[in-house]
Subunit: 206 residues, 2 copies
DNA sequence: ACCACAGCCAAACCTGATTCAGTTCAAGGA
DNA sequence: TCCTTGAACTGAATCAGGTTTGGCTGTGGT
């Protein structure tokens, strides 16, 4: 789709380690609150070594956001694939969106918290490229849901209401989970998925 | 409730002007992206004069967030007051939440984008106080909606489902509007309110 | 007439991200 | 083996912005 960094990582590359550490730090302590240098410490390299892999702290953040968006876009496609009805597609899509491991939860939170970063252009080349990429993926994800809603309306499974607002609202309902959900809390992931699915169906059902 | 700054503004105070300018800048360009000094410029004072009114840039942000939360909490209370049924209360509450001017829209966006700031403690005295205040108000708002849902369930107007998840979801649905809504766009504020109200009712109705 | 204090400023300061000017090391020829 | 190349890395500056300091000014209250 887009000419993305397919820079086949060298064997000694710490890029993945850095991303992992950054996700933990950004997710647990917040992006602005975590010192870029502390990420370096966590990985066991000097602060400036980070710049070998990422152009800046923000560039790293954008990379994390893109990666999460990518995951969520492809997971949607895979889940929906081959479902019989829009209702089944919806069930599958919700499962795909919410049935994720702890690292993805962090990534989802990071993504949500910094969505506004995608709004304004970046100075630097690579950052701007990554931003554009992320924006494209956002559009992709929104489009996925919009499409699903429209399919549902067309088939008569869903009530005929404004698809744009509906899809945005569905996305918000799903993502809102990460605001309060905590692993090992009163509600299991399973519980939440169940509740969310039913809520969404109540929203769209004809 | 809390011993808040009731520091009866002096007549020459530029506090309100600063807040207004900050809301515009933070809202349009984003908090991290706007230079604190540029807010001073906008108001027509030197950068350090800002510190006469706010302890820090973050303190100003927290103040804006608190103010928005305060508005939203009291608006809810006022709207719900004297409604006959939970359904009517819900209608009134949605109207109160969404029928706001452009400045409040900006504030709402600012609030949402920096909710995570409320999670971790602040170093400085006044910032921490303001943070606590904001947290209290968040609890207040969440409680308002939770209560409404529980009243609705008790009266039989709303279906008997998990009130916690329901109320959080409702809040998310309402606040999600600010992500895409733009004054003068295809959909009027009226349209959006109508759609949102119906969506919420579909969600909770017995 | 005087004082206290809100309101303001220029210059110094500090923190944390970023750049500079290299050094190390492993792999692939010659 | 020796040499070259480029990925991986580093300590020491640099830079940008927010914050602190110390002091000046003008106004309202007594």
């Amino acid at each position: 789709m887009s000419t993305q960094t397919v820079t086949t990582e060298g064997p000694r590359s710490k890029r993945a380690l850095i991303l992992r550490a950054a996700i933990e730090s950004f997710g647990d302590d917040g992006f602005e609150h975590t010192k870029w240098a502390s990420v370096a410490d966590k990985v066991g390299i000097g602060q400036t070594a980070l710049y070998h892999y990422f152009e800046s702290k923000v560039h790293c953040l954008l990379t994390i956001m893109s990666s999460e968006l990518e995951r969520s876009a492809t997971a949607f496609a895979a889940a929906v694939e081959g479902q019989a009805t829009p209702t089944d597609e919806l069930r599958a899509a919700v499962k795909a969106a919410l049935d994720v491991g702890p690292r993805e939860v962090l990534q989802a939170r990071i993504l949500q918290s910094h969505m506004d970063l995608l709004a304004s252009p970046r100075q630097s080349e690579r950052e701007e490229a990554e931003r554009q990429h992320a924006r494209e993926l956002v559009r992709q994800v929104e489009h996925n849901w919009l499409d699903l809603v429209e399919r549902g309306i067309a088939s008569g499974d869903f009530a005929d209401r404004d698809a744009f607002q509906t899809s945005h609202m569905m996305l918000a309902m799903i993502l809102s989970v990460w605001r309060w959900y905590r692993e090992g809390g009163a509600l299991s992931n399973e519980d939440v998925r169940e509740f969310t699915t039913e809520a969404l169906l109540r929203l769209v059902r004809a």
